[in-house]
């Protein structure tokens, strides 16, 4: 699969995961790699970029394993981005299904 395309999909998944619950970096990589063949090198940089772009904010919470852990929380801008992604993705999938399915595409 095209690397840029995959990065875009991972970005969408990261926003969606964090829109559902606050997460820390390790947990995000773990959640993604359970479901998709994810390139580990890209997840943290994506998290960081999305935070820089204002889609996430961070806060720390004490743990019992060592230093306080940094959590990512979705912002309003992030929620809007998530909705846009969802809509775009659904349109994209419908289009792909029509093309691959053939029938509706011919109409």
């Amino acid at each position: 699969m095209n690397t840029q395309f995959k990065k875009g999909v991972i970005e969408m998944c990261v926003i969606h995961l964090i829109s559902e619950q606050d997460m820390y970096g390790f947990a995000v990589i773990e959640a993604l790699s359970k479901e998709i063949d994810v390139n580990e090198n890209t997840v943290y940089p994506i998290l960081r970029r999305l935070t820089d772009q204002g889609y996430f904010e961070t806060y720390t919470e004490a743990t019992n394993v060592g230093a306080p852990r940094k959590y990512f929380r979705i912002t309003e801008a992030g929620k809007n981005r998530n909705s846009e992604y969802q809509a775009d993705w659904n349109d994209f999938l419908k289009g792909v299904s029509r093309i691959l399915g053939g029938r509706e595409y011919e109409k």
């Binding site: 820390y24 970096g25 390790f26 947990a27 990589i29 790699s33 390139n39 580990e40 090198n41 890209t42 997840v43 943290y44 940089p45 960081r48 394993v65 060592g66 230093a67 852990r69 940094k70």
Partner: protein, 365 residues
């Protein structure tokens, strides 16, 4: 292991113009993630695989950052080098009457560009990239000063040899020795040949299969092959020297071949990529030896060995990098052909300007 992993990321990050606080933040995040991995009883290697390769991580992180000092200072040096070379050339020529071979200073232009470019990439590639220049300088200096063009050309063997030794970091010592054995044999063959003992010095090429089967298992098969090769060499020499039948005695070399058929059925199992490279190496050696023996073209046919890295670049490099990667080899070929056949050494160096020109034209910046 954790500190090594974090240090790797940190030192790579420091090659970019990133604020200190940001670097600390990134390292702190990876520190936490590493601790999370340890808390889940993952091994260091598992955590490394899970979090990713430092070099790739930093590349992803720094897509929007500029490379700092190394690149900037390096580019200034590249830009200045033609002028430095020109000044040095005129000083050598004007004050010391060394116009020739003073023009060799112009080789500093591509050499500097290569070193600077490689410093921002993998350091082990520097020697591979520099080997053609090193070889050509040694070749020209010895050739011009002592007139010993042949067998000084043997110095060009450092091109494939350096690529074999440095090029493959995962290669085992044994595989490296196997890959180097033809070049060692070739060197010994020509050095002893020059002393007038071409025959039976060519038998030195038998070290290639002898080294090749050293890894053969079970051990008894290895011993059988070694003995078969040694016996055939011994028989060949006895029949040749005692009976004088050198031609007919060549058939004794069918002995190890017969053993190979009996023991292994001669199954040559080479995969696509290595088969292609092997074919190019064999082709280059064959062309060189045939051209050398039948046309006496030892002095220039070494250029055929450049086909090995050139083929590898064309076949396996990313398309957009091909032209830049090929430019040193094109430059060397043009330079040498103009110098060797037209005696235009003093201006042929201009061919090397092709390297920075190509790099600049292909550069995104």
């Amino acid at each position: 292991m954790k500190s090594k992993y974090l240090q790797e990321i940190e030192s790579l990050l420091r090659q970019y113009q990133i604020q200190e606080s940001e670097i600390k933040d990134i390292i702190s995040d990876y520190d936490q993630m590493y601790e999370d991995g340890l808390a889940k009883t993952m091994t260091d290697q598992e955590i490394r695989d899970f979090l990713g390769d430092p070099e790739r991580i930093v590349l992803e992180l720094c897509e929007n950052y500029e490379r700092k000092q190394v690149r900037n200072k390096g580019h200034k040096l590249i830009a200045l080098m033609p002028f430095i070379a020109l000044i040095a050339f005129f000083i050598l020529g004007h004050y010391f009457d060394l116009w020739h071979p003073g023009w060799l200073v112009f080789l500093l232009v591509p050499i500097t560009a290569l070193i600077v470019e490689m410093l921002t990439k993998k350091k082990r590639d520097i020697l591979i990239a520099l080997s053609p220049f090193l070889a050509i300088v040694i070749f020209l200096v010895i050739g011009i000063t002592a007139g010993v063009w042949h067998p000084t050309w043997l110095v060009f063997l450092i091109i494939p040899v350096s690529a074999i030794i440095i090029g493959s970091k995962d290669r085992s010592i044994y595989k490296m020795v196997v890959a180097l054995s033809p070049f060692v044999a070739l060197t010994v063959f020509f050095i002893l040949g020059e002393l007038g003992i071409w025959h039976p010095t060519w038998l030195v090429f038998m070290i290639v299969p002898m080294v090749g089967v050293l890894n053969k298992r079970p051990l008894w098969k290895c011993l059988v092959y070694e003995l078969a090769i040694l016996c055939s060499i011994g028989l060949y020499l006895i029949l040749g020297y005692v009976k004088g039948v050198w031609g007919m005695s060549l058939f004794v070399f069918l002995l190890p071949v017969a053993f190979a058929v009996l023991l292994d059925g001669i199954v040559i199992k080479v995969t696509g990529k290595s088969l292609e490279i092997l074919a190019v190496i064999i082709f280059a050696i064959a062309v060189y030896l045939l051209g050398g023996f039948f046309a006496g073209a030892w002095g220039y046919l070494w250029l055929v060995f450049l086909l090995i890295p050139v083929y590898s670049i064309i076949r396996f490099s990313h398309r957009k990098d091909i032209l830049v990667a090929l430019s040193p080899f094109i430059a060397i070929t043009v330079f040498f052909l103009l110098g060797y056949f037209a005696n235009l050494w003093t201006i042929a160096w201009l061919a090397f300007l092709l390297i920075p020109i190509t790099a600049i034209l292909k550069s995104k910046n």
